[in-house]
């Protein structure tokens, strides 16, 4: 598809919901290695709740309003680190897409830039700290580049997804500085960051969605 409409966004949230339901146990065990095993639970809860409310709200609300509802719902239902950061991301994306009827490449770039900035501000992590931010930044950068050169949405998101995959791989060599993983120090080296994995999942599934 060329652009994600409000009705598509509702389906995208459904996709995310099933994605995190499927990945629940994987994320539990990933977070369990150097964390507290809750990530699979919070993410599946957050996206189940978000999918439900955006479906209930309906396409008439428009892109920005739907994202805002999704973000506010997540903040309420999954107030863990990742839950609140993801919620903040969607709330900022909502602000950034105010007035937009659809998400084309330009709006997607604005979406992910705002998402990244929100997470950076709220979490105060730096690049290289082995967090979600380490995949959000390349996603935003890839989409900005694509928007600058007028790439169609599906292609732009595919490039962003590839960038996120590489960035996720790169988190393996980083040393965790935040959250529960920070306690594990050297043991985090070699492991991909759990939050970054969620970021990659989000954009990959958005890219696949746009490509379908």
């Amino acid at each position: 598809m060329d652009a994600i409409k409000a009705s598509d966004l509702i389906r995208l949230f459904e996709t995310w919901q099933s994605l995190f339901a499927e990945q629940r146990d994987f994320l539990i065990s990933l977070d369990g290695k150097v964390g507290d095993s809750d990530l699979g639970i919070t993410m599946s809860k957050a996206f189940a709740a978000a999918a439900e409310v955006v479906a209930a709200e309906g396409e008439g609300a428009g892109i920005s309003k739907l994202l805002r509802t999704a973000g506010a719902t997540m903040a309420r239902t999954a107030p863990s680190t990742m839950g609140t950061l993801t919620a903040t991301g969607f709330l900022r994306a909502s602000k950034a897409t105010e007035g937009a009827d659809v998400l084309g490449t330009g709006e997607a770039a604005a979406f992910w830039r705002a998402f990244r900035d929100g997470v950076a501000e709220r979490g105060k992590a730096k690049l290289g700290d082995k967090t979600l931010l380490d995949v959000l930044d390349p996603i935003a950068v890839a989409l900005e580049t694509a928007a600058g050169s007028g790439e169609p949405l599906a292609k732009a998101l595919a490039a962003a997804s590839d960038a996120a995959e590489r960035a996720l791989e790169a988190t393996k060599s980083m040393l965790a500085q935040h959250g529960k993983a920070a306690a594990f120090q050297e043991k985090t080296i070699g492991l991909q960051d759990a939050g970054a994995t969620v970021g990659y999942f989000l954009v990959r599934s958005m890219a696949e969605f746009a490509d379908s």
Binding site: D38, I41, P79
Partner: protein, 334 residues
Amino acid sequence: MKKFLNDPVNFVDEMLEGIYGAHKELTYVADDKRCMVTAKPKAGKVGIATGGGSGHLPLFLGYVGDGMLDGAAVGGVFQSPSAEQMYQVTKQIDQGAGVLFIYGNYSGDIINFDMAAELADLDGIQVKQVVGNDDVASSVVGEEHKRRGVAGIFFVYKAAGAAAAEGLSLDEVTRIADKARSRTRTMGVALSSCVVPEIGHATFSIGEDEMEIGMGIHGEPGISRKKLAPADKVIDEMMERIFAETDYKQDDNVAVLVNGLGGTPLEELYILFRRVAQLLDQRGVKAKHVWVGEFATSMEMAGASVSVLHLDEELDRLVAAPANTPFFKHCILR
């Protein structure tokens, strides 16, 4: 998983129903049981709010009551409550004198309390924050800001709660809370894992003859895993870490908290305290106030922690002040 529960999804809410049923001095706002406040607000007093994940009873909500806290936002098991919930508690307990947040140093809680402080600020409520970071095992000296908050937060609640009850200002209560925080050190040791109800199996595995010194209250890794040693040796190793970064002088007073993580019998906690007292004695340090029991748990985790608060005259007075909460009572009857 061997637990008394119904649907694990309802674990926290059913627990809260039980708590409200048993303790009429607690109530909630915003039609949300997880926004707990005292039923007896005291006009003009600085409000103190806390919050954090469930699974640590009596932490956090158990200290809401006379002489301690005014409200607590209650999260899911080992999950931060939401910023919205913290904000609702804050609005309710503000009596015009401002609100102090006291909570543990965990990223989920920080992110949400920060958001809640912003929301309260928009309403013109003055908010200060003191973040407990007493767990010596969780980071080195010089990096104390990275340390986790564990059972020692009890002393921060106690001192700040007494100060607020005395009618001190938000700045004063904050100063005292921060002083108690900075003078508290905790070391813990775990013998077995807990089970998060919705997960249903042990958070981590540990050998039948092993202990982990310094493990966190969510199963975060500690300093060393080794064969379970005799109780005295365990305490010697833990206290050595505490002594290494404190400057207790002959005749100084401390308050001691020997805390059970949940599965360890009270008998054993007293055996541990016995050794703590011996070591303090050897240094001429006086354990002026002593509490032994469960103050900050990890559900069924077996293990214990020792927290020491280095008293000065002010903290001595405040720690000994009366308190009456569902889970902590300190009273003089005659």
